[in-house]
Symmetry: C2
Subunit: 239 residues, 2 copies
DNA sequence: ACAAATGGTGCGGGCTCCCGCAGTTTGGGT
DNA sequence: ACCCAAACTGCGGGAGCCCGCACCATTTGT
């Protein structure tokens, strides 16, 4: 079994390799690279069974790297190992997972024992695992009233990229009014509507983005990949 | 000499303490705590000469922690030790540094030698030092045409929080039209105006925030502290 | 099987936003 | 004291945004 480690923090990387050696004696070879681009290249060259990868890296983030890796070798099992329990990452990952692909999501704050367990479960047994901390997110946001569904999330992404209503409608194949309805429920779920009466003079559109970011529903990496998707779409439209 | 270390990553913390012991033999005592709140409490209780602190921490971020520490003991020398070279952090720090206070900013990617050097320079000699990586930021953004000045940055923060023009004008003591002029130059400097002709149908306001975040001029932590400041201001206005 | 709930669509009005035009104030430089 | 440039301000208009009202289609519950 060959494992690829993609991690730009030297301490975390050596810790990870240490734990891998301990948890997975069946590993014959591990390669460690420093960022997403190198990760893609390595995955293309050597045929790895599994990848353990940080999400926030300098040159190319984990989500995009995973996307290209899976694109080329869908059978690769990928374990994401991240500092943050941002909902954005989970959604971002879920969005790009091809059907029947094996992946996992562990936080770096997890104990050594937990990490070993997850390594075996995901990379060896092929189970899909998400850290319990992340599960709690869904509930922590209180009532399901506040949880965004997929189409609302899509509109939120477009809003975040700065598209105006007409363009969102065009991109998502909805009518203008429908987009605006989505936005209404978004404002509601993000708590923008609630604070409005108390503080008149807020720009709901910007406020929604602002809150989405501070509540970790969106983050920089996800915004960046969404931006690239948008550019791709614009390219198609252009001609 | 007593040093307080505020860092929530165990590996980084132990590395840091190791380097401190090596670089600063004159240190008589070091205390290590895990997050900003504990940091504030510790700084209040024990009288530390210097603090080394991470910027992104779970319960209370480094900027706010530094603000309260300096508020209570302005002579404290603080070295920020961060993963990211976000312009937002530098601006956020610069904003809260009281006059004649000693601080420094090093990236975690710095070499051991460099870290030792900075530790001595800032905590011992009382020099103000900023990692060269950060300096490069200013230039990297190319022409000075694209560098925001303080008042533009202030307006950008307000925009990011979702205030509409009228409120920004009120808060910053400007006329409505002046705020709008600021926004114009902001759109310009953030490159929003440039992409507009190619892609009609963008909401400049949101687009500006989006770009400010992806270019690291703003980030989550800064947004959060700005939000608290806003709430404080709203409180004053309210009565 | 009927009612209620959910999601999509059109119309229209009041508001904010973006920005061109034009006039005033401020700050440096000579 | 002069000038020029930069920053600030008011006015007005076209466009986008927020959202109430009204209507239709599909799904869900009892």
């Amino acid at each position: 079994m060959k494992i690829l480690v993609v991690e730009d923090d030297r301490f975390h990387a050596s810790f990870l390799q240490d734990v891998i050696g301990e948890a997975l004696p069946e590993v014959s070879e591990t390669l460690h690279v420093q960022d997403g681009l190198q990760g893609e290249a390595a995955a293309r060259a050597g045929r790895f069974d599994a990848v353990v990868m940080d999400l926030q890296m300098a040159r190319r983030n984990g989500i995009e790297t995973a996307r290209t890796i899976w694109h080329e070798r869908p059978r690769t099992r990928i374990l994401f190992w991240s500092n943050y329990s941002d909902e954005a990452y989970l959604r971002g990952v879920a969005e790009i997972v091809p059907t029947d692909c094996v992946y996992g999501y562990v936080l770096k704050t997890a104990t050594r024992e937990r990490l070993k367990l997850v390594l075996r479960a995901v990379l060896l047994d092929g189970q899909v695992m998400v850290d319990r901390e992340m599960q709690r997110l869904r509930r922590r946001t209180a009532s399901p009233r506040h949880v965004l569904n997929d189409s609302e999330y899509a509109v939120l992404l477009d809003l975040a990229l700065g598209l105006q209503d007409r363009l969102i409608a065009e991109r998502r194949g909805m009518s203008l009014r429908t987009v605006q309805n989505r936005l209404l429920t978004l404002y509601d779920k993000l708590g923008v509507s609630d604070e409005e009466p108390a503080v008149p003079g807020l720009n709901k559109r910007v406020r929604a983005l602002s809150r989405a970011i501070t509540t970790r529903i969106l983050n920089v990496e996800v915004l960046e990949t969404a931006q690239r998707d948008l550019e791709g779409w614009l390219g198609e439209q252009g001609r």
